[in-house]
């Protein structure tokens, strides 16, 4: 019986080898946006993490393994952002092409200048560097050519297209930079929920006035909010948090300081460069609201 089963398996082997478009699986919508900007019509894209929640806390779901099983390329953020689920999903997907170390496994973190390497010493998930560069245009501009090169390696016939697409995407981002910087030039800084805006503030050279989480990953406490309110008394600023975080903490702080509260997702709501640029626009507006 076993023999027959194996013959059956062998018969199914060629069926999995057909080549249409390159199947690309991105872990987040930002990675999906960059992959679609570079891959264009030549790739089929699936994104594992929904755009409206924290990509740390996902689980390796069967549907992820289904997507990864057929993938030619995984585009991950890296720097341990997906450490809680991607390694298990990639392993269990039983796809040798996308195992770490193979050309089919791409980590954006390897092509970006990471901040906070060595950890913040606060028990957070990451000590290989801060993985939240999804709000940083410089990081996107750095990883786009690397992604084009990787896609070209897997699909040599499209290599020239990928390079051209990457150059075009970099130009589109470049065209917005001076506007974004001008709009936030006089912004007073902001309080965020979680340390996922490090790169954004570093790029715009604006001060982070505090975090609602006392320690990354730990929900805000009344005492911490009170301490923040006392230390920021008399200053201008804005509180910005993702809609999936509880609203009570930011509201209390806003009442104490008389600041506006802005809600913004840290991922684009569609895996396209246009949606990613709209997202940065939204964050720039939010930061400017503190003026």
């Amino acid at each position: 019986m076993l023999k027959r089963l194996l013959i059956l398996l062998a018969a199914l082997l060629p069926a999995t080898g057909y080549a249409a478009d390159l199947r690309v699986v991105a872990t987040t919508y930002t990675m999906g946006a960059m992959a679609s900007a570079v891959g264009g019509e030549r790739i089929d894209l699936a994104v594992l993490a929904p755009p409206d929640r924290d990509a740390h806390f996902l689980q390796a779901k069967p549907s992820m393994m289904r997507d990864l099983r057929r993938a030619d390329l995984v585009v991950a953020v890296g720097a341990e952002l997906e450490a809680g689920w991607l390694p298990a999903a990639v392993k269990r997907a039983a796809n040798p092409a996308i195992q770490p170390g193979q050309p089919g496994y791409f980590e954006a973190a390897g092509h970006v200048d990471l901040l906070d390497v060595g950890g913040t010493g606060t028990g957070h998930v990451h000590d290989t560097g801060n993985p939240h560069f999804n709000l940083d245009p410089r990081a996107m501009q750095a990883l786009l050519p690397a992604l084009a090169q990787r896609l070209g390696k897997l699909d040599p016939a499209g290599a020239a297209d990928y390079q051209a697409n990457a150059t075009q995407a970099i130009t589109r981002i470049e065209a917005r930079l001076s506007d974004w910087q001008a709009r936030t030039a006089d912004a007073p800084g902001a309080v965020f929920h979680h340390a996922d805006t490090r790169y954004l503030m570093d790029w715009l050279d604006l001060p982070t006035l505090g975090y609602l989480e006392p320690v990354p990953g730990v929900p805000p406490t009344a005492r911490h909010i009170q301490e923040l309110a006392e230390s920021l008394e008399g200053r201008d600023g804005v509180i910005i948090h993702a809609p999936y975080y509880p609203e009570r903490g930011p509201r209390k702080l806003a009442e104490a300081l008389g600041w506006p509260v802005e809600q913004h997702y840290t991922e684009p709501q569609a895996p396209t460069l246009t949606a990613w640029i709209e997202m940065i626009d939204g964050w720039v507006d939010a930061l400017a609201a503190g003026q």
Binding site: L2, K3, L6, L9, L12, L13, T16, P50, D52, R53, D54, F57, L58, Q59, A60, K61, P62, S63, M65, R66, R69, R70, A83, G84, W85, L86, P87, A88, A89, K91, R92, A93, A94, N95, P96, A97, Q99, P100, G101, Q102, P103, G104, Y105, F106, E107, G110, G123, V125, A146, R150, K153, V215, G217, V218, P219, A242, Y244, Y245, P246
Partner: protein, 427 residues
């Protein structure tokens, strides 16, 4: 099994698969291989009490039925295996885990359990392939069987303090873990579908596939592998918020022996085979809110065991040697957890054994029917951070033990802390 050496066939299949894997593309220089092993340690402590002077947890391993009549010599060999919680403070196994990639073709995991007295048991030590084509994976070493849903979960990822009584009675407190080979196949289908088969030595089982020792009266056990399993899992794509997985499994123990050496009837030994069938379902809902608020996890399993044995030794009535003894018992659990507030989770579980619980022989005098045992459990878990949690749990047991029934209440208070890298968890 008509083929006399199925393990050789399987081995040669694995070898040819490994050769195929050699054709995998060369390692790209851009992405470094995660060769550094990851270490983590999980500390687990429980305060336990119940309404019958603290004996209630140990009794759960002895509910009336076809598994209650054993001799217990076997268990003393495994000093680290915990046999229930004692009244008061318990330091449960400290789990030490090392995981890592070895090269482009394999990764490995070592899971050891250290008892409060310093005894060490290997819970899992395996290498698994990552380089096979066509959705195939091979695992070799000692590992938790892929049958069922709860079986592969280590105690630090249980939703309740203790093992459900269906697993505990039919498979043992640690489920089914043994030394052998696993082959799984994940076809590139539109819905996640996984098939698996396993061959195990059949030496390391707590409840099924056990070996009894009694001189020359008992026949030699069959050659290993003595335990074969098969399982399938299927999951439809329900989008980002919902996930459902359905599974079915079977296990066949070619050689099962047991010794009945206390109480009536007099000392005797049985030899034969045993099989287990199970179905499982799990549903998860991700609410999209932070810190687990609003999330649901619901799972349930039904297990059914049949042991076809013959009397191989009898101290007082040698005439019954050769007579058949058929045993059947089943068990189930259904459990749910709900994120009631950021980092707070409530859980409810119903577990039971013995809806079917019977012994049959060729003479009516041999036949016996045992009663069922059931329990309701409620738990509240506070996840202080990603790496630490505190859990309080109460349970109401309605149990059948030997010839009497006993109802009692259990109380648990638990902490679990993990040090080091938190590895990725499977679904």
């Amino acid at each position: 099994m008509r083929n006399r050496h199925p393990e050789r066939l399987l081995l040669s299949a694995l070898m040819s698969a490994a050769t195929l894997a050699g054709a995998a593309p060369a390692i790209a220089e851009e992405t470094p291989l995660p060769l550094d092993p990851q270490f983590s340690v999980i500390l687990d402590g429980v305060y336990y009490d119940d309404s019958i002077d603290g004996s209630g947890d140990a009794m759960l391993g002895e509910t009336a039925g076809i598994f209650a009549a054993h001799g217990h010599e076997e268990e003393d060999d495994h000093a680290v295996h915990e046999h229930g919680l004692e009244q008061g403070f318990n330091l449960r196994h400290t789990e030490a885990v090392v995981t890592g990639g070895i090269d482009a073709l394999f990764d490995a995991r070592l899971n050891i359990a250290i008892s409060d007295e310093g005894d060490i048991t290997v819970e899992e030590a395996y290498v698994a392939s990552t380089g096979l084509p066509a959705g195939l994976r091979v695992k070799a070493g000692k590992f938790y069987s892929g049958i069922g849903y709860h079986n592969e979960k280590h105690p630090h990822s249980w939703d309740f303090v203790d093992q459900n009584i269906a697993y505990r009675t039919l498979l043992g407190i640690h489920g089914l873990a043994d030394t052998g080979l696993q082959l799984t196949w994940l076809p590139a289908w539109d819905h996640y579908t996984l098939f698996g088969i396993e061959a195990f030595q059949g030496d390391d089982n707590e409840r099924l596939g056990t070996e009894a020792e009694h001189g020359d009266d008992l026949p030699e056990r069959d050659k290993a592998p003595r335990l074969w399993t098969a399982f399938a899992k299927w999951s439809p794509d329900l989008g980002y918020d919902h996930a459902l997985q359905l599974g079915a499994s079977a296990a066949f123990f070619r050689s099962h022996q047991e010794m009945h050496d206390h109480g009536e009837p007099e000392e005797h030994a049985l030899d034969g085979d045993a099989r287990l069938y199970g179905i499982d379902a799990v549903y998860k809902y991700d609410s999209g809110q932070a810190y687990g608020q609003g999330d649901w996890r619901v799972s349930g399993e039904y297990l059914w065991v049949k042991k076809d044995l013959e009397v191989a030794h009898h101290a007082s009535t040698p005439g019954v040697i050769g007579e058949a003894r058929d045993f059947r018992e089943d068990g189930l659990y259904v459990q749910a957890t709900y994120g009631i507030a950021p980092r707070w989770e409530l859980g409810l579980r119903y577990d039971a054994v013995g809806f079917t619980n019977e012994k049959r022989g060729p003479r009516a005098a041999v036949d016996a029917d045992f009663e069922e045992s059931q329990r309701w459990t409620a738990a509240a878990t506070w996840h202080l951070s990603e790496t630490s949690r505190i859990r309080a749990q109460v349970a109401q047991v309605e149990g059948a033990f030997g010839d009497h029934r006993e109802d009692y209440t259990q109380f648990y208070l638990q902490y679990q802390i993990s040090l080091g890298a938190h590895g990725a968890h499977s679904f």
